[in-house]
């Protein structure tokens, strides 16, 4: 089966373990939300996948081929990164020209088409663009590249609401016509909650969970009511966090719901992805 396989990756920086024996996979054909707090290790892992840095241990395997220093994965994966690596003195149209020479799968017509939709001036040099438009250029380049695995690292940073909406529209349209793996690393969870199919949550260099959004939302819920009742309801459950509002206690639970006892004053409500994320990453302290 085609996938990006992350195999026992460990990466240390001067005594700090950024990634600690991380293993999981991104399967072909899904849209992933790659979530984690700042410094959780998201960018480190993306950089290893893109051969920008090296793992101390372990390897990344893309469609059965090692991703480290290997041109065989060149047409397989592309990472739109948060940091600007492009030649800043090149005009946008020339950037497109070079990308189309570097990648067989780059659709330059599509790149210009997307630029028009975003009102991106392709005659400007990269460095003359505003921060938002620099992001738009990077998104455009990534969207016009027909590689099977595409990674977006904080894609909508600095984009206004209309442009963000346009980006998600283009992404979904593209995905519909041409199924591939899209990995979105972001803090803006609510925005992508309905777009993604599966979540990989990483915290302090470890994978906290990998789950389909449906299952996750199906198993995460919040129970609220008088403290005593909440505590007794939660006794045999996996509680990932608590909140209090005076006498009202809220408990966030992951797992199967059991029916409320007769005459109970408890209320069960849904927990959205963002809440789930916050509670899960809060649990480990910090």
């Amino acid at each position: 089966m085609n996938s990006i396989l992350i195999k026992n990756i460990t990466k240390r920086y001067k005594g700090v373990t950024a990634l600690d024996n991380v293993s999981f996979s991104f399967e072909y054909g899904k849209i992933y939300g790659f979530l984690g707090r700042n410094g959780a290790g998201k960018s480190t892992l993306i950089n290893i996948m893109a051969n920008r840095i090296f793992a101390d241990e372990g390897e990344v395997v893309i469609d059965q081929v090692s991703a480290k220093e290997n041109m065989e994965v060149h047409e397989k994966i592309f990472c739109m990164s948060e940091v600007d690596l492009y030649d800043t003195s090149l005009k946008i149209k020339d950037q497109f020209k070079w990308i189309s020479r570097f990648y067989d799968s780059f659709d330059i017509e599509k790149a210009f088409d997307i630029s028009r939709k975003f009102n991106l001036d392709t005659n400007k040099r990269f460095k003359a663009l505003s921060k938002g438009y620099q992001s738009i250029f990077k998104l455009t380049a990534a969207l016009a590249l027909n590689v099977p695995y595409i990674v977006f690292d904080e894609p909508v940073l600095g984009l206004d609401v209309n442009h963000r909406e346009l980006f998600y529209d283009l992404l979904l349209k593209d995905y519909e016509n041409n199924e591939r793996t899209i990995i979105i690393a972001t803090h803006l969870i609510e925005e992508i909650a309905n777009i993604i199919e599966e979540v990989v949550l990483i915290d302090k260099g470890k994978v906290l969970l990998q789950e389909s959004v449906d299952t996750l939302l199906g198993t995460g819920y919040c129970v609220s009511g008088p403290e005593q009742e909440v505590v007794s309801y939660c006794r045999d459950k996996n509680v990932i966090g608590n909140d209090e509002l005076g006498n009202l206690k809220l408990a966030y639970i992951l797992g199967e719901k059991s029916p409320l006892p007769h005459g109970s004053h408890l209320q069960i409500t849904a927990m959205n992805l963002q809440k789930l994320f916050v509670k899960l990453t809060e649990k480990g302290g910090n």
Partner: protein, 241 residues
């Protein structure tokens, strides 16, 4: 292999026009000096400048440093592996050094006939007998500067600022130590022997003849050694964020 060709093409074609900007500015300045001199002294005989090739040293040096910082980023963003980045950067060095050595050799030999007292770098050392060797020597000299600075910047990037400064201090110390060894430890005979070998490496034979092949081979050896060193470092270079 097609991708490697495109990476080389990127490296060379994005640097090509700057070569001519550089020459345009350089010769504009030369012309200005010439004009000022001729107005103020009334004589057009002496230009007062020689060996314009040394300016090219600075230019190729800057390009080789940028080759690391800028082009590495651009090519790694576009999914190239380090081996390809290294080959394309070295190709840029060959391309740039080749063209600039050709231009400088030609310009130097023309200037020599127009401007009284002008000498080319090669000519001032070896004379003007062999234009081809003059070009080849200059080409290798530029290459040497490129790979030397490329290796230096790679090492600095790899080991970081603090360690690089320590390394620089250590290198300075070594130079002092070697000088001391020459002065106080080695016998006069040994020192003479070493100087003689160095002179031979530069092509000057004890009998007063000049063998052009020797300096060419010496430079080539340096370029290859530094190149291998650069490759060993770039293989391990990680992008800094």
């Amino acid at each position: 292999m097609g991708k490697l060709k495109e990476a080389i093409r990127y490296e060379c074609s994005t640097s090509f026009k700057y070569i001519w900007y550089f020459y345009a500015i350089q010769y504009a300045i030369v012309a200005l000096i010439y004009a000022i001199l001729s107005i103020s002294t009334g004589s057009t005989e002496r230009l007062g400048v020689s060996c314009l090739e040394t300016n090219t040293f600075i230019y190729v040096g800057i390009v080789s440093i940028l080759g690391m910082t800028e082009d590495f980023k651009m090519l790694i963003q576009n999914g190239f592996m380090r081996k390809y980045i290294f080959i394309s950067t070295v190709s840029l060095f060959v391309f740039m050094s080749g063209i600039m050595a050709l231009f400088d050799t030609a310009a130097g030999n023309i200037l020599r006939h127009i401007v009284y007292g002008y000498t080319t770098l090669f000519g001032s050392i070896y004379g003007y007998d062999n234009i081809f060797i003059s070009w080849l020597w200059l080409f290798l000299l530029y290459m040497f500067i490129c790979v030397l600075l490329y290796l230096a910047i790679l090492v600095i990037y790899k080991i970081g600022k603090t360690l690089s400064i320590c390394l620089g201090v250590a290198l300075g110390g070594t130079v002092l130590l070697i000088t001391a060894v020459f002065q106080y430890v080695l016998s006069n005979e040994a020192v003479n022997k070493i100087i003689e070998t160095a002179a031979k490496a530069m092509g000057f034979m004890p009998d007063g003849t000049i063998i052009y092949l020797f300096p060419v081979l010496t430079l080539l050896l340096f370029v290859v050694v530094l190149g291998i060193g650069s490759y060993a470092v770039i293989r391990r270079i990680e992008l800094k964020s």
